[in-house]
């Protein structure tokens, strides 16, 4: 089998006059977690569903483990496991029935152990509809991986989940990756992408705006460091002074926020100013740019609310 589990070349999907996806290309390698990021309407779900064989590309080529999803759907079914963003099961179906049902069509034995692993052991006989969102998501993930596919596509798998469920699903994804499963993860959650994905592609208006590892992406941004300062008399909030190396300034809650090219120059100047004003420092935070900052930089160049240049 080729090392590129997924290969997308000049993929375009057009709906009437609207180009939902405009000639994107990327590859996903065996055993990696690849993140597809982008705002609503960027083309993530269209790309995912085309890889799953649910939509036909308007032009370009898509290959999943050497299979063309739109032409060889029967071969594709056993190679991929999918957790759709918007899908459901019959309301009266129980997790046990769902597992037996889908495994029978994949011609494998029902994997009740996976349901146990994902915390559905005591819900095997419960109907799907009354299950909580978290349990429904866990069931969807269980069904996606039950036939041990080499590629799993997850579309917003942790949306609407509580923190504990999210952490647990992340652990399951890492377990799958450790077993050699390749995962494509479409998500809005930048922290999730930064934590889980080895590489990401940021989609914007149907095109890939940036691609690389989260570390590479954050490094290739403007590289502004975020400095947040809160003081007793709020002298920084009342003042419009610009400190050395500061590119942008904003006010967030009780904090004056500075986006600086060089924290080493800015921080001492801020502290000196507070001393001069006889104002007492309450809190000072220096943060490196996150994937979310980089994402906002790409998708919304004027993202910093209330920012002054």
């Amino acid at each position: 089998m080729p090392d590129d589990v997924v290969s997308v070349q000049d993929f375009q999907k057009v709906y009437g006059d609207i180009k939902a996806v405009d000639g994107i290309s990327f590859t996903v390698q065996r055993g990696e977690i690849f993140g597809l990021l982008g705002p609503n309407g960027a083309g993530k779900t269209t790309t995912m569903e085309s890889l799953e064989g649910l939509r036909q590309p308007s032009s370009g080529s898509l290959h999943v483990l050497g299979v063309d999803p739109s032409r060889q759907p029967k071969t594709l079914h056993n190679l991929i496991g999918v957790q759709l963003q918007s899908s459901s099961l019959p309301g009266s179906m129980t997790p046990r029935e769902a597992m037996e049902f889908f495994c029978a069509y994949h011609k494998v034995s029902a994997r009740l152990d996976i349901l146990e692993r994902l915390g559905l052991g005591d819900k095997l006989g419960a109907q799907y509809e009354p299950l909580s969102t978290g349990l429904q998501r866990r069931l969807a993930l269980s069904l996606a991986v039950a036939h041990e596919p080499p590629l799993v596509l997850l579309d917003e798998p942790t949306a609407g989940l509580d923190v504990a469920s999210r952490v647990e699903l992340h652990e399951v994804m890492l377990e799958l990756q450790a077993k050699g499963t390749t995962i494509i993860l479409a998500t809005h959650d930048m922290a999730e992408a930064e934590k889980m994905a080895g590489r990401v592609a940021i989609l914007l208006k149907g095109k890939i705006a940036a691609t690389g590892s989260p570390a590479q992406l954050t490094a290739t941004g403007k590289g502004l460091v975020k400095i947040s300062v809160s003081s007793e008399d709020s002298s920084l909030l009342k003042s419009s002074i610009f400190f050395p190396a500061v590119a942008q300034r904003a006010i967030k809650d009780e904090y004056a926020v500075y986006y600086s090219h060089d924290a080493g120059e800015t921080v001492p100047a801020v502290l000196n100013y507070l001393k001069e004003q006889k104002d007492r420092l309450i809190d000072l935070r220096v943060e490196r740019p996150s994937l979310e900052d980089r994402f906002l930089e790409i998708t919304e160049p004027d993202h910093i609310n209330g920012a002054e240049q």
Binding site: K74, V82, S88, L89, P90, E97, F102, Y105, K107, Q127
Partner: protein, 271 residues
């Protein structure tokens, strides 16, 4: 085969587990049967002669025309069929399994009606059990295929009500269930021949119960079979996996073709 059986067993259980399906498959037809048995046999003594097939037809229509389409539209809207497609579940299974499980529900209700209507309401008993069973299977298949077709071509629940009731209500009144079609005025008799129940009742009267038939009952069998096969094939042909991403470019109005045998029957059998 395991997958097909597994799918069938789930679908059959769903027909008992789901409250609205339980109502349409069992509670409504059996309740209606008891009510009609108590009321109609007193009001109209001729009703008892064909009470068994008439009540079986009510059960069929409730289970198929009223019960089958809604889960199809709901499953499409909820994205259930998308999950099915990704997991390799063929359209043939999605269309045929609910039809088969409806047939089983219909047979169970028919068995209850057939076994109890004689002792309880002095209903007429078939003189040919072979034809009785044959017409039952054929009519149930045709009704179930039409119910599935309504689900496949309906974009939403409102359309289901329109399509289903446009067959169900006239069938109850004109379809030969309460009053023999031969007693209808000429104009209404022609209209009644647009309804599958008229053909089923005619076939049952002539072939299974030894009563007068309005026209050759073998024609009725042929028309029912033609309509059922057309509806079944169209259900697969027009099936859509996804309400948001319609891949079938065929007009849902093609579904009207399943009524063509009845139109021909209404034209040819009254001249």
């Amino acid at each position: 085969m395991t997958a097909f059986l597994n799918h069938f067993m789930y679908d059959f259980r769903k027909g008992l587990r789901d409250k609205s399906l339980l109502m349409l498959n069992y509670l409504f037809p059996l309740g209606f049967y008891v009510l009609m048995g108590l009321l109609m046999t007193g009001l109209n003594p001729t009703f008892a002669a064909t009470m068994i097939p008439a009540m079986i037809l009510v059960a069929m229509m409730a289970s198929t025309l009223l019960g089958l389409p809604n889960p199809v539209v709901e499953s499409r809207e909820a994205g259930i069929y998308r999950s099915f497609k990704i997991n390799g579940i063929p359209a043939l299974s999605i269309v045929s399994i609910p039809i088969i499980s409806s047939l089983v529900h219909i047979f169970l209700v028919s068995l209850i009606i057939t076994l109890t209507a004689g002792p309880l309401f002095n209903a007429g008993i078939p003189v040919s059990w072979f034809y009785f069973a044959l017409i039952l299977v054929l009519t149930a298949f045709t009704m179930a295929s039409m119910g599935m077709l309504i689900g496949v071509i309906s974009p939403n629940s409102r359309s289901i009500v329109l399509f289903s009731q446009s067959i169900f209500l006239p069938s109850m009144i004109l379809g030969g269930l309460m009053v023999p079609a031969s007693m209808l005025p000429e104009g209404l008799y022609r209209v009644s021949l647009l309804l599958p129940t008229s053909y089923a009742m005619n076939a049952w009267r002539g072939l299974a119960f030894g009563l007068d038939a309005s026209f050759n009952p073998l024609w009725a069998l042929l028309i029912l079979l033609s309509s059922g096969l057309i509806a079944f094939i169209l259900s697969i042909y027009l099936f859509n996996w996804d309400s948001k991403n319609r891949q079938s470019r065929h007009s849902p109005w093609l579904g009207m073709l399943s009524l063509l045998p009845y139109v021909l029957g209404a034209i040819l059998l009254t001249n």
